[in-house]
């Protein structure tokens, strides 16, 4: 069966996995993990250059924007204003008008401030950004973000970096049914089975960072995630069997030795 293409803002991706670039031991390890993951879209953070002692090497020397679609994020922003400012700076770097919009509401849970995210989405869409908002697993908010012009909606599976997997699969399914834009689960995936479950629920893609970078062997885990996403997607397309309370024999009764 041929899957429908994964398209965002006119860009077609072969891989439904988007990966982060944080917490890696080195740029080299990061690059190898991205290759192993099969991802074609990579998210990066926006930070001040250390003007007193800036590194000679740059992340984008390793993750080539000519090969990968770069998705700058507003990680670390706690207000709509900060996120808008960061997005504008990111765009002016001249690589892309895409932005993964994060407005964090609490430093301990890193859960999103949904109302501020919606507000910032409206402003950024108006300014021509392609907005990827990170949001709670709330179908109502997902619909509002779609109405505000978001290109995709990115509900969390569980808190950022928690590795707890999908905590509310019913809401994720409701989100999938509530919007027509792509649904990309962002944050909380811990291992390949979590990725597969997200895809089995009908999500269009997954974004993850810590699950790969925080694994004992990040490159091997990146490869596992590549397969997990593919397996989950195929299972979704295949359509799983119904769950039943009682056993149902899979061998014929006819011809039994009596």
């Amino acid at each position: 069966m041929i899957d429908k293409p994964f398209v965002i803002d006119g860009v077609t991706f072969q891989s439904r996995l988007i990966v982060g670039t944080g917490k890696y031991a080195s740029f080299e390890e990061n690059k190898k993990a991205v290759i192993a993951s099969g991802a074609q879209c990579v998210t990066v953070a926006v930070r001040r250059v250390n003007i007193l002692d800036h590194a000679s090497e740059n992340l984008l020397d390793y993750i080539d924007p000519k090969i990968y679609k770069i998705l700058p994020n507003t990680a670390g922003c706690y207000t709509a204003e900060e996120a808008i400012r960061t997005a504008r700076l990111a765009r002016s770097a001249g690589i892309t008008n895409w932005v993964k919009l994060e407005v964090i509401g609490n430093p301990n849970t890193l859960l999103p401030d949904n109302s501020a995210t919606l507000e910032a989405t409206r402003v950024l869409v108006k300014e021509g950004f392609v907005v990827f908002p990170y949001v709670s697993d709330d179908p109502i908010m997902a619909k509002k973000l779609q109405d505000a012009g978001a290109a995709v909606v990115m509900p969390l599976a569980s808190p950022i970096g928690s590795g707890l997997g999908i905590q509310n699969p019913y809401n994720i399914q409701l989100i999938r049914e509530s919007v027509s834009i792509p649904v990309i689960v962002d944050a909380g995936v811990g291992t390949a089975s979590d990725a597969a479950i997200a895809m089995e629920l009908g999500c269009d893609g997954i974004l993850m960072n810590t699950a790969i970078a925080g694994a004992k062997n990040p490159i091997l885990m990146a490869s596992a995630m590549n397969y997990g996403v593919k397996a989950g997607r195929m299972a979704y397309l295949a359509g799983r069997m119904q769950k039943k309370r009682y056993a149902q024999a899979s061998s014929p009764i006819d011809g039994m030795i009596e």
Partner: protein
């Protein structure tokens, strides 16, 4: 500049500044008093006394980590930022600067 006081000769352009700092222009974005500078104008935009300059680039990061970003929006009126009108931005200082 990025939270550090620095003395620069008057009439230095953004390109001149980046050269002095050994920063490759194509890898960064620059903000002057909260106004994003168009890359094509790095040669033309000149620094003035008291300017607040932010130079950013892309670094590794997935989601959510709370890091010191740059000088907070502070005294800039929210209304201005939301309207995309950053011409009348004032001093960048607020009590929130100490909170972060």
């Amino acid at each position: 500049m990025n939270g550090v006081q620095k003395k620069i000769l008057p009439q230095t352009s953004i390109t001149g500044l980046l050269t002095q700092l050994n920063i490759i222009p194509h890898q960064v974005a620059v903000e002057q008093n909260l106004l994003v500078i168009d890359k094509n104008k790095f040669d033309q935009v000149l620094l003035e006394d008291g300017d607040n300059i932010e130079i950013i680039n892309f670094v590794g990061g997935g989601s959510g980590r709370r890091l010191r970003l740059y000088s907070p929006v502070g005294a800039v009126k929210t209304k201005n930022l939301r309207n995309g009108n950053t011409e009348s931005c004032g001093a960048v200082k607020s009590k929130r600067a100490n909170d972060r």
